[in-house]
Subunit: 226 residues, 2 copies
């Protein structure tokens, strides 16, 4: 499958690496290719810059948001929540129309320090805002509830014995995303229904961040124990 | 321990029964004792009325909110979220001062149909509103993330292999509540910190309600799988 990853951070890198490993044709999209490749410092979390990462992932191609999206069958929104709508607009409404748009971002607002709160919650969500802004895209919200490495390798926590949620309006798009999640190693995938359910998945972030603090590691998942 | 349960619904009944079974002296508080005992219809969920329930739980005493709270060492807020502040005011600020106040309620608003949303969320919580309204009470938020029967008997889902959160400002009050949770059968209890963390525990309700719909049973818990 031809896949575009919108976003060059650690989430985008994790997804790009795993999709590529699984044999997909992966293009990562960025605002400015030259600027992204010129950056040589680690990010605020100490992660190496994209320019270093891509040297170890030679089958992955870096292009502009629009170039990446135009060639893709499936687009992944791996930007930070604050930048998602703008990045997707740069990717181009026409380049997203009719395509599966996996939204794995979270509407986190760090402007008042830690822990962050959600800039949209409760009666709306980032997933819904994206679906409204790009009505012809088939938005599927998923993977936003675990740390990047676990998204594509759930076995790194509790042997993979934890749950993942999907929400979206298009049944076929969800089926494709569920198939991808299974390829990543997810075993307990819970379909919540339409994209309005993204608000519930995003509202897991406050407990996710605090649990990380309480147990001292981000390598955990939420298991629906029944 | 002398325990007051504020609220006569299915959550109050579950807590009263289990505390009584464990040998505690339990008083349930209600707005109007005669009116509560006069009600003979089941509630909207089909649960039997309190007047029928208490006939099978003869060691439990029914009194007014204030009478129940005044005699107690530990008070449980088992009201619906919309009624919590008013019921606790009727219980009496002076009757809550210095006492542990276990808040197990949720700020659910059903006014716009199903699924409900939260009438306070994200940068505030019901737990914090109660702590602010009763600054001398030692509020501990817990148990709000599972169905009533599981609160006091976590083994009814996945053999009890799921997690419970506590939040509160007073370390000793939290230690007492954690000890009670262990008596109920909880094994993985995660202390999130002060009462502001109640907002994260309450924000689990949207995914809790939708997961119930998706898997077809409320008998599940959230396990922090690590």
């Amino acid at each position: 499958m031809k896949i575009a990853i919108i976003g060059t951070g650690m989430v985008g890198q994790a997804l790009a690496a795993q999709f590529s490993e699984l044999g997909h044709q992966v293009t990562v999209g960025t605002r400015n290719v030259a600027a992204t490749l010129a950056k040589t410092e680690a990010d605020g979390m100490g992660n190496p810059p994209f320019s270093a990462w891509i040297k170890g992932h030679t089958s992955v191609v870096l292009k502009t948001f629009a170039e990446a999206a135009s060639q893709a069958e499936l687009v992944v929104n791996a930007t930070s929540g604050h930048g998602s709508l703008e990045a997707l607009k740069l990717a181009g409404t026409e380049n997203l129309a009719g395509k599966i748009l996996m939204d794995i971002a979270n509407p986190l607002d760090f402007s008042q320090g830690m822990p962050p709160f959600l800039f949209v919650a409760n009666q709306d969500s980032l997933g819904e805002q994206i679906q409204k802004a790009f009505p012809e895209a088939k938005v599927v919200k998923t993977l936003n509830i675990v740390t990047a490495a676990l998204m594509v390798n759930p076995e790194m926590a509790a042997g993979g014995d934890h749950s993942m949620f999907v929400s979206g309006n298009d049944a076929q798009a969800k089926a494709t995303v569920i198939s991808i999640l299974k390829d990543f190693g997810w075993k307990d995938i819970i379909d919540l229904g339409d994209i309005t359910n993204a608000r519930a998945a995003e509202m897991l972030l406050p407990i996710w961040i605090r649990t990380w603090g309480a147990i001292g590691t981000p390598f955990f998942g939420f298991k629906i124990a029944r």
